[in-house]
Assembly symmetry: C2
Homo-oligomer: 257 residues x 2
Protein backbone atom coordinates (compact mmCIF):
# COMPACT_ATOMS: atom_id res chain seq x y z
CA UNK A 1 0.00 0.00 0.00
CA UNK A 2 1.20 3.49 -0.74
CA UNK A 3 0.72 6.77 1.09
CA UNK A 4 -2.28 8.49 -0.53
CA UNK A 5 -2.92 12.21 -0.86
CA UNK A 6 -6.00 11.93 1.39
CA UNK A 7 -3.90 10.35 4.07
CA UNK A 8 -1.35 13.16 3.77
CA UNK A 9 -3.81 15.79 5.00
CA UNK A 10 -4.94 13.49 7.81
CA UNK A 11 -1.35 13.18 9.00
CA UNK A 12 -0.29 16.80 8.56
CA UNK A 13 -3.28 17.67 10.78
CA UNK A 14 -1.38 15.85 13.55
CA UNK A 15 1.25 18.62 13.40
CA UNK A 16 -1.29 20.62 15.42
CA UNK A 17 -2.18 19.94 19.05
CA UNK A 18 -5.97 20.17 18.64
CA UNK A 19 -5.98 17.54 15.91
CA UNK A 20 -3.57 15.30 17.85
CA UNK A 21 -5.92 15.50 20.82
CA UNK A 22 -9.12 14.79 18.94
CA UNK A 23 -7.48 11.85 17.10
CA UNK A 24 -5.57 10.67 20.18
CA UNK A 25 -2.54 10.14 17.94
CA UNK A 26 0.97 11.52 17.48
CA UNK A 27 3.99 11.30 15.17
CA UNK A 28 7.34 9.64 15.85
CA UNK A 29 10.18 10.00 13.33
CA UNK A 30 13.66 8.69 12.71
CA UNK A 31 15.12 5.21 12.67
CA UNK A 32 16.36 5.11 16.26
CA UNK A 33 13.05 6.17 17.80
CA UNK A 34 10.81 4.19 15.45
CA UNK A 35 12.93 1.05 16.02
CA UNK A 36 12.49 1.55 19.75
CA UNK A 37 8.77 2.23 19.31
CA UNK A 38 8.33 -1.00 17.33
CA UNK A 39 10.02 -2.92 20.16
CA UNK A 40 7.87 -1.25 22.83
CA UNK A 41 4.31 -1.78 24.03
CA UNK A 42 3.18 1.52 22.46
CA UNK A 43 0.49 1.03 19.84
CA UNK A 44 1.41 1.97 16.27
CA UNK A 45 -1.50 2.67 13.91
CA UNK A 46 0.41 3.64 10.75
CA UNK A 47 3.95 3.43 9.47
CA UNK A 48 5.40 5.19 6.41
CA UNK A 49 8.82 4.79 4.83
CA UNK A 50 10.53 6.21 1.78
CA UNK A 51 11.96 3.79 -0.77
CA UNK A 52 15.42 3.54 0.79
CA UNK A 53 14.04 2.39 4.15
CA UNK A 54 10.99 0.44 2.96
CA UNK A 55 12.64 -3.01 2.91
CA UNK A 56 14.09 -2.62 6.40
CA UNK A 57 10.73 -1.71 7.92
CA UNK A 58 8.73 -4.13 5.83
CA UNK A 59 10.80 -6.90 7.44
CA UNK A 60 9.91 -5.54 10.87
CA UNK A 61 6.23 -4.70 10.31
CA UNK A 62 4.13 -5.69 7.27
CA UNK A 63 1.87 -2.66 7.70
CA UNK A 64 4.55 -0.21 6.53
CA UNK A 65 3.42 1.90 3.56
CA UNK A 66 5.70 3.23 0.84
CA UNK A 67 5.74 7.02 0.54
CA UNK A 68 7.32 8.97 -2.30
CA UNK A 69 9.76 11.53 -1.00
CA UNK A 70 7.65 14.52 -2.04
CA UNK A 71 4.60 13.35 -0.05
CA UNK A 72 6.83 12.15 2.77
CA UNK A 73 8.31 15.63 3.19
CA UNK A 74 4.73 16.91 3.65
CA UNK A 75 3.84 14.51 6.47
CA UNK A 76 7.25 14.91 8.15
CA UNK A 77 7.71 17.48 10.91
CA UNK A 78 11.47 17.59 10.33
CA UNK A 79 13.40 19.98 8.09
CA UNK A 80 15.42 17.01 6.90
CA UNK A 81 12.94 14.11 6.88
CA UNK A 82 14.45 10.87 8.13
CA UNK A 83 12.53 8.55 5.77
CA UNK A 84 10.57 6.70 8.46
CA UNK A 85 7.51 8.03 10.29
CA UNK A 86 5.13 6.26 12.67
CA UNK A 87 1.70 7.30 13.88
CA UNK A 88 1.15 6.06 17.43
CA UNK A 89 -1.67 6.15 19.98
CA UNK A 90 -1.34 8.63 22.83
CA UNK A 91 -1.12 7.12 26.31
CA UNK A 92 -4.00 7.56 28.75
CA UNK A 93 -3.80 10.84 30.68
CA UNK A 94 -4.05 9.30 34.12
CA UNK A 95 -1.94 8.13 37.04
CA UNK A 96 -2.55 7.03 40.61
CA UNK A 97 -0.95 8.27 43.81
CA UNK A 98 0.06 4.66 44.32
CA UNK A 99 2.50 5.16 41.39
CA UNK A 100 4.26 8.12 42.95
CA UNK A 101 4.34 7.38 46.68
CA UNK A 102 7.82 7.08 48.21
CA UNK A 103 9.33 8.47 45.01
CA UNK A 104 10.48 11.66 43.42
CA UNK A 105 8.06 13.08 40.87
CA UNK A 106 8.60 16.09 38.63
CA UNK A 107 5.85 18.67 38.27
CA UNK A 108 5.94 21.36 35.55
CA UNK A 109 4.04 24.62 35.83
CA UNK A 110 3.38 26.36 32.51
CA UNK A 111 6.44 25.26 30.52
CA UNK A 112 6.13 26.57 26.96
CA UNK A 113 9.22 25.37 25.14
CA UNK A 114 8.78 21.93 23.51
CA UNK A 115 12.54 21.31 23.44
CA UNK A 116 12.86 22.02 27.18
CA UNK A 117 10.03 19.58 27.93
CA UNK A 118 11.71 16.91 25.81
CA UNK A 119 15.04 17.45 27.54
CA UNK A 120 13.36 17.27 30.97
CA UNK A 121 11.72 13.95 30.02
CA UNK A 122 15.18 12.68 29.08
CA UNK A 123 16.58 13.87 32.44
CA UNK A 124 13.69 12.18 34.31
CA UNK A 125 14.39 8.94 32.45
CA UNK A 126 18.09 9.16 33.32
CA UNK A 127 17.47 9.72 37.02
CA UNK A 128 14.72 7.09 37.24
CA UNK A 129 11.79 9.46 37.72
CA UNK A 130 8.81 7.64 36.25
CA UNK A 131 6.10 10.33 36.29
CA UNK A 132 5.95 13.99 35.24
CA UNK A 133 2.79 15.88 36.21
CA UNK A 134 2.16 19.01 34.10
CA UNK A 135 -0.18 21.97 34.43
CA UNK A 136 -2.74 22.05 31.65
CA UNK A 137 -1.04 25.08 30.04
CA UNK A 138 2.28 23.22 29.73
CA UNK A 139 3.36 22.45 26.16
CA UNK A 140 1.98 19.19 24.72
CA UNK A 141 4.25 16.17 25.24
CA UNK A 142 3.11 14.93 21.81
CA UNK A 143 4.43 18.06 20.10
CA UNK A 144 6.89 16.63 17.56
CA UNK A 145 9.74 18.85 18.83
CA UNK A 146 9.19 17.44 22.31
CA UNK A 147 9.02 13.84 21.12
CA UNK A 148 12.21 14.26 19.07
CA UNK A 149 14.05 15.97 21.96
CA UNK A 150 13.26 13.06 24.31
CA UNK A 151 15.45 10.76 22.14
CA UNK A 152 12.92 8.03 22.98
CA UNK A 153 12.62 8.68 26.72
CA UNK A 154 8.91 9.51 26.30
CA UNK A 155 8.33 5.74 26.05
CA UNK A 156 9.56 5.20 29.61
CA UNK A 157 8.35 8.30 31.48
CA UNK A 158 4.64 8.90 32.04
CA UNK A 159 3.65 12.52 31.33
CA UNK A 160 0.18 13.60 32.51
CA UNK A 161 -1.75 16.88 32.50
CA UNK A 162 -3.91 17.95 35.42
CA UNK A 163 -4.77 21.12 37.37
CA UNK A 164 -1.78 21.51 39.70
CA UNK A 165 -3.36 22.93 42.86
CA UNK A 166 -5.64 19.93 43.57
CA UNK A 167 -2.77 17.60 42.62
CA UNK A 168 -0.37 19.32 45.03
CA UNK A 169 -2.93 19.35 47.86
CA UNK A 170 -3.48 15.62 47.35
CA UNK A 171 0.25 14.90 47.17
CA UNK A 172 0.80 16.74 50.45
CA UNK A 173 -1.98 14.73 52.07
CA UNK A 174 -0.08 11.61 50.93
CA UNK A 175 2.94 12.78 52.90
CA UNK A 176 4.95 13.91 49.87
CA UNK A 177 7.00 17.08 50.52
CA UNK A 178 6.43 19.80 47.92
CA UNK A 179 9.69 21.34 46.67
CA UNK A 180 9.45 24.36 44.39
CA UNK A 181 12.34 25.95 42.46
CA UNK A 182 12.41 29.69 43.18
CA UNK A 183 15.02 32.45 43.10
CA UNK A 184 15.18 33.09 46.85
CA UNK A 185 14.49 29.75 48.54
CA UNK A 186 16.63 27.54 50.72
CA UNK A 187 19.90 26.22 49.30
CA UNK A 188 18.97 22.91 47.66
CA UNK A 189 22.27 21.45 48.94
CA UNK A 190 20.91 21.74 52.49
CA UNK A 191 18.09 19.28 51.75
CA UNK A 192 19.97 16.26 52.97
CA UNK A 193 18.45 12.84 53.27
CA UNK A 194 15.41 13.62 51.15
CA UNK A 195 14.13 10.41 49.58
CA UNK A 196 10.80 11.41 48.06
CA UNK A 197 8.72 14.37 47.05
CA UNK A 198 7.28 16.51 44.28
CA UNK A 199 9.81 18.80 42.55
CA UNK A 200 7.91 21.70 40.97
CA UNK A 201 9.61 23.69 38.20
CA UNK A 202 8.14 26.92 36.83
CA UNK A 203 7.94 28.30 33.31
CA UNK A 204 10.97 29.67 31.46
CA UNK A 205 9.78 33.26 31.66
CA UNK A 206 7.44 33.49 34.64
CA UNK A 207 8.65 30.95 37.19
CA UNK A 208 6.00 29.40 39.40
CA UNK A 209 2.48 30.79 39.14
CA UNK A 210 1.11 32.43 42.30
CA UNK A 211 -1.47 29.75 43.11
CA UNK A 212 1.15 27.00 42.74
CA UNK A 213 3.73 28.90 44.77
CA UNK A 214 1.18 29.19 47.60
CA UNK A 215 1.08 25.36 47.82
CA UNK A 216 4.88 24.88 48.05
CA UNK A 217 6.19 24.15 51.53
CA UNK A 218 9.87 23.82 50.65
CA UNK A 219 11.04 26.58 48.30
CA UNK A 220 14.52 25.68 47.00
CA UNK A 221 17.21 27.55 45.10
CA UNK A 222 20.37 26.51 43.27
CA UNK A 223 23.09 28.83 44.58
CA UNK A 224 25.50 30.13 41.96
CA UNK A 225 29.31 30.43 41.96
CA UNK A 226 29.55 27.17 43.91
CA UNK A 227 32.74 26.07 42.19
CA UNK A 228 34.46 29.40 42.64
CA UNK A 229 36.66 29.15 45.72
CA UNK A 230 38.01 32.68 45.63
CA UNK A 231 36.64 34.98 48.34
CA UNK A 232 35.87 37.53 45.65
CA UNK A 233 32.98 35.39 44.42
CA UNK A 234 30.00 37.63 43.73
CA UNK A 235 27.25 35.25 44.80
CA UNK A 236 24.42 35.10 42.34
CA UNK A 237 25.21 38.43 40.74
CA UNK A 238 26.00 37.36 37.27
CA UNK A 239 23.10 35.63 35.59
CA UNK A 240 19.36 35.69 35.99
CA UNK A 241 18.60 32.04 35.99
CA UNK A 242 19.54 28.71 34.61
CA UNK A 243 17.59 27.26 31.72
CA UNK A 244 14.71 25.25 33.21
CA UNK A 245 16.06 21.94 31.88
CA UNK A 246 19.53 22.64 33.31
CA UNK A 247 18.01 23.67 36.65
CA UNK A 248 15.98 20.44 36.70
CA UNK A 249 19.12 18.37 36.08
CA UNK A 250 21.01 20.15 38.86
CA UNK A 251 18.20 19.62 41.39
CA UNK A 252 17.90 15.94 40.41
CA UNK A 253 21.70 15.58 40.73
CA UNK A 254 21.67 17.12 44.21
CA UNK A 255 18.74 15.03 45.45
CA UNK A 256 20.41 11.94 44.04
CA UNK A 257 23.48 12.26 46.25
Amino acid sequence: MMLSKNKVSEITALHQKKHRQSAGLFIVEGEKMVDELLASTWQIVDLFATADLFEKYHALDKRVQLADSHLFSKISTLKTPAGILAIAKQAANDFSFEDIKNKFTLCLDGLRDPGNLGTIIRIADWFGISTIVCSEDTVDVYNSKTIQATMGSFMRVKVVYTPLVPFLINAKAQDLPLFGAVLNGENVYNKKGVTKGIIVMGSESHGLSAHVLACIDEPITIPSKLLQLSSSAEQGQSIDSLNVAIATSVICAVFAK
Copy 2:
Protein backbone atom coordinates in the same frame (compact mmCIF):
# COMPACT_ATOMS: atom_id res chain seq x y z
CA MET B 1 24.89 57.59 9.56
CA MET B 2 22.94 54.82 7.92
CA LEU B 3 23.78 51.21 7.22
CA SER B 4 25.11 51.07 3.64
CA LYS B 5 24.87 48.21 1.17
CA ASN B 6 28.67 47.81 1.14
CA LYS B 7 28.66 47.43 4.89
CA VAL B 8 25.94 44.78 4.64
CA SER B 9 28.23 42.34 2.80
CA GLU B 10 31.03 43.06 5.25
CA ILE B 11 28.75 42.12 8.15
CA THR B 12 27.05 39.11 6.57
CA ALA B 13 30.58 37.75 6.01
CA LEU B 14 30.79 37.55 9.83
CA HIS B 15 28.09 34.86 9.72
CA GLN B 16 30.95 32.54 8.69
CA LYS B 17 33.74 31.42 11.00
CA LYS B 18 36.63 32.06 8.59
CA HIS B 19 35.59 35.69 8.08
CA ARG B 20 35.02 36.18 11.82
CA GLN B 21 38.51 34.86 12.46
CA SER B 22 40.27 36.97 9.84
CA ALA B 23 38.42 40.12 10.99
CA GLY B 24 38.68 39.22 14.69
CA LEU B 25 35.04 40.33 15.07
CA PHE B 26 31.67 38.79 15.95
CA ILE B 27 27.96 39.64 16.13
CA VAL B 28 25.83 40.16 19.23
CA GLU B 29 22.07 40.66 18.86
CA GLY B 30 19.06 41.50 20.97
CA GLU B 31 18.39 44.23 23.52
CA LYS B 32 19.31 42.28 26.65
CA MET B 33 22.71 41.15 25.38
CA VAL B 34 23.62 44.39 23.61
CA ASP B 35 22.69 46.39 26.73
CA GLU B 36 24.97 44.13 28.74
CA LEU B 37 27.71 44.40 26.11
CA LEU B 38 27.54 48.22 26.20
CA ALA B 39 27.95 48.12 29.98
CA SER B 40 30.89 45.68 29.76
CA THR B 41 34.57 46.12 28.92
CA TRP B 42 34.14 44.32 25.58
CA GLN B 43 35.02 46.54 22.64
CA ILE B 44 32.20 47.41 20.25
CA VAL B 45 33.22 48.50 16.74
CA ASP B 46 29.78 48.97 15.15
CA LEU B 47 26.20 49.20 16.28
CA PHE B 48 23.07 49.03 14.11
CA ALA B 49 19.45 49.62 15.08
CA THR B 50 16.16 49.66 13.24
CA ALA B 51 13.99 52.80 13.53
CA ASP B 52 12.02 51.62 16.57
CA LEU B 53 15.15 51.10 18.67
CA PHE B 54 17.34 53.87 17.23
CA GLU B 55 16.52 56.54 19.84
CA LYS B 56 17.12 54.18 22.76
CA TYR B 57 20.58 53.20 21.52
CA HIS B 58 21.51 56.67 20.28
CA ALA B 59 21.09 57.82 23.88
CA LEU B 60 23.46 55.06 25.01
CA ASP B 61 26.06 55.26 22.23
CA LYS B 62 26.32 57.98 19.57
CA ARG B 63 27.93 55.58 17.10
CA VAL B 64 24.70 53.69 16.50
CA GLN B 65 23.69 53.59 12.83
CA LEU B 66 20.13 53.47 11.53
CA ALA B 67 19.32 50.41 9.42
CA ASP B 68 16.18 49.95 7.35
CA SER B 69 14.46 46.73 8.24
CA HIS B 70 15.15 45.08 4.87
CA LEU B 71 18.93 45.57 5.17
CA PHE B 72 18.80 44.77 8.88
CA SER B 73 17.24 41.38 8.18
CA LYS B 74 20.24 40.67 5.91
CA ILE B 75 22.88 41.41 8.55
CA SER B 76 20.92 39.64 11.30
CA THR B 77 21.60 35.98 12.10
CA LEU B 78 18.16 35.57 13.68
CA LYS B 79 14.98 34.36 11.99
CA THR B 80 13.15 37.14 13.78
CA PRO B 81 15.65 40.02 13.91
CA ALA B 82 15.60 41.86 17.23
CA GLY B 83 16.28 45.34 15.78
CA ILE B 84 19.64 45.86 17.48
CA LEU B 85 22.96 44.31 16.40
CA ALA B 86 26.48 45.00 17.63
CA ILE B 87 29.82 44.07 16.06
CA ALA B 88 32.37 43.40 18.80
CA LYS B 89 36.05 42.49 18.94
CA GLN B 90 36.91 38.90 19.78
CA ALA B 91 38.86 38.36 22.99
CA ALA B 92 42.47 37.23 22.86
CA ASN B 93 42.81 33.45 22.59
CA ASP B 94 45.12 33.03 25.58
CA PHE B 95 45.14 32.20 29.26
CA SER B 96 47.75 31.38 31.88
CA PHE B 97 47.93 28.44 34.24
CA GLU B 98 47.98 31.07 36.98
CA ASP B 99 44.29 31.73 36.06
CA ILE B 100 43.20 28.13 36.55
CA LYS B 101 45.26 26.85 39.48
CA ASN B 102 43.25 25.76 42.51
CA LYS B 103 40.05 25.97 40.48
CA PHE B 104 37.74 23.90 38.40
CA THR B 105 38.13 24.40 34.66
CA LEU B 106 36.00 22.91 31.91
CA CYS B 107 37.65 21.36 28.88
CA LEU B 108 35.69 20.47 25.73
CA ASP B 109 36.88 17.89 23.23
CA GLY B 110 35.35 18.22 19.77
CA LEU B 111 31.92 19.64 20.63
CA ARG B 112 30.05 20.39 17.41
CA ASP B 113 26.70 21.83 18.46
CA PRO B 114 26.76 25.63 18.87
CA GLY B 115 23.72 25.58 21.17
CA ASN B 116 25.34 23.03 23.48
CA LEU B 117 28.49 25.18 23.72
CA GLY B 118 26.39 28.24 24.56
CA THR B 119 24.48 26.34 27.24
CA ILE B 120 27.75 25.02 28.72
CA ILE B 121 29.14 28.58 28.90
CA ARG B 122 25.96 29.57 30.77
CA ILE B 123 26.42 26.62 33.17
CA ALA B 124 30.10 27.57 33.74
CA ASP B 125 29.04 31.13 34.53
CA TRP B 126 26.41 29.90 36.99
CA PHE B 127 28.84 27.65 38.86
CA GLY B 128 31.65 30.21 38.86
CA ILE B 129 33.93 28.44 36.39
CA SER B 130 35.91 31.22 34.73
CA THR B 131 37.73 29.39 31.94
CA ILE B 132 36.71 26.84 29.28
CA VAL B 133 39.53 25.27 27.28
CA CYS B 134 38.41 23.81 23.92
CA SER B 135 40.05 21.54 21.38
CA GLU B 136 40.64 23.31 18.10
CA ASP B 137 37.89 21.30 16.39
CA THR B 138 35.27 22.45 18.91
CA VAL B 139 32.59 24.75 17.48
CA ASP B 140 33.49 28.47 17.44
CA VAL B 141 32.38 30.37 20.55
CA TYR B 142 31.66 33.35 18.27
CA ASN B 143 29.13 31.36 16.22
CA SER B 144 25.98 33.46 16.58
CA LYS B 145 23.95 30.48 17.82
CA THR B 146 26.51 29.97 20.59
CA ILE B 147 26.60 33.66 21.54
CA GLN B 148 22.78 33.81 21.64
CA ALA B 149 22.54 30.58 23.71
CA THR B 150 24.93 31.99 26.35
CA MET B 151 22.33 34.65 27.25
CA GLY B 152 25.31 36.95 27.85
CA SER B 153 27.46 34.56 29.87
CA PHE B 154 30.16 34.67 27.15
CA MET B 155 31.13 38.07 28.59
CA ARG B 156 32.12 36.53 31.93
CA VAL B 157 33.61 33.16 30.95
CA LYS B 158 36.89 32.99 29.03
CA VAL B 159 36.74 30.46 26.17
CA VAL B 160 40.05 29.53 24.57
CA TYR B 161 41.11 27.07 21.84
CA THR B 162 44.31 25.05 22.10
CA PRO B 163 45.56 21.52 21.34
CA LEU B 164 44.28 19.51 24.29
CA VAL B 165 47.05 16.96 24.83
CA PRO B 166 49.82 19.51 25.64
CA PHE B 167 47.29 21.47 27.72
CA LEU B 168 46.32 18.39 29.76
CA ILE B 169 49.96 17.34 30.26
CA ASN B 170 50.75 20.84 31.53
CA ALA B 171 47.68 20.92 33.77
CA LYS B 172 48.68 17.61 35.34
CA ALA B 173 52.19 18.95 35.95
CA GLN B 174 50.52 21.84 37.80
CA ASP B 175 48.87 19.35 40.14
CA LEU B 176 45.41 19.61 38.60
CA PRO B 177 43.56 16.27 38.53
CA LEU B 178 42.17 15.39 35.08
CA PHE B 179 38.56 14.19 35.21
CA GLY B 180 37.03 12.84 32.01
CA ALA B 181 33.34 12.03 31.47
CA VAL B 182 33.06 8.50 30.08
CA LEU B 183 30.41 5.76 30.01
CA ASN B 184 32.19 3.29 32.29
CA GLY B 185 34.22 5.35 34.77
CA GLU B 186 33.98 5.75 38.52
CA ASN B 187 30.72 7.06 39.97
CA VAL B 188 31.15 10.84 40.07
CA TYR B 189 29.34 10.88 43.45
CA ASN B 190 32.32 9.02 44.96
CA LYS B 191 34.67 11.94 44.20
CA LYS B 192 34.29 13.53 47.59
CA GLY B 193 36.25 16.54 48.70
CA VAL B 194 37.48 17.49 45.23
CA THR B 195 38.20 21.21 45.12
CA LYS B 196 40.00 21.68 41.80
CA GLY B 197 40.69 20.04 38.49
CA ILE B 198 40.05 19.89 34.78
CA ILE B 199 36.66 18.43 33.80
CA VAL B 200 36.91 17.10 30.24
CA MET B 201 33.69 16.54 28.29
CA GLY B 202 33.65 14.77 24.93
CA SER B 203 31.69 15.41 21.76
CA GLU B 204 27.97 14.69 21.45
CA SER B 205 28.47 11.76 19.11
CA HIS B 206 31.98 10.43 19.72
CA GLY B 207 32.77 11.08 23.39
CA LEU B 208 36.41 11.71 24.26
CA SER B 209 38.95 11.24 21.48
CA ALA B 210 41.51 8.48 22.02
CA HIS B 211 44.50 10.76 22.56
CA VAL B 212 42.60 12.84 25.11
CA LEU B 213 41.25 9.77 26.88
CA ALA B 214 44.82 8.50 27.27
CA CYS B 215 45.66 11.64 29.33
CA ILE B 216 42.72 11.30 31.76
CA ASP B 217 43.62 9.92 35.18
CA GLU B 218 40.15 10.03 36.73
CA PRO B 219 37.46 8.72 34.37
CA ILE B 220 34.03 9.57 35.82
CA THR B 221 30.47 8.50 35.03
CA ILE B 222 27.05 9.80 36.03
CA PRO B 223 25.12 6.73 37.17
CA SER B 224 21.49 6.59 36.05
CA LYS B 225 18.29 5.70 37.96
CA LEU B 226 19.67 7.43 41.05
CA LEU B 227 16.28 8.71 42.16
CA GLN B 228 14.57 5.38 41.69
CA LEU B 229 14.44 3.67 45.06
CA SER B 230 12.72 0.50 43.92
CA SER B 231 14.90 -2.59 43.88
CA SER B 232 13.73 -3.25 40.34
CA ALA B 233 15.84 -0.38 39.06
CA GLU B 234 17.60 -1.44 35.89
CA GLN B 235 20.81 0.52 36.31
CA GLY B 236 21.80 2.35 33.18
CA GLN B 237 19.69 0.21 30.87
CA SER B 238 17.35 2.77 29.49
CA ILE B 239 19.14 5.56 27.70
CA ASP B 240 22.45 5.90 25.94
CA SER B 241 23.67 9.12 27.37
CA LEU B 242 22.71 12.49 28.65
CA ASN B 243 23.02 15.52 26.41
CA VAL B 244 26.54 16.92 26.90
CA ALA B 245 25.24 20.18 28.41
CA ILE B 246 23.03 18.29 30.86
CA ALA B 247 25.91 15.97 31.77
CA THR B 248 28.13 19.00 32.37
CA SER B 249 25.55 20.56 34.68
CA VAL B 250 25.18 17.32 36.65
CA ILE B 251 28.96 16.94 37.11
CA CYS B 252 29.29 20.59 38.18
CA ALA B 253 26.37 20.12 40.62
CA VAL B 254 28.00 17.03 42.14
CA PHE B 255 31.45 18.65 42.49
CA ALA B 256 29.81 21.72 44.03
CA LYS B 257 28.39 19.84 46.99
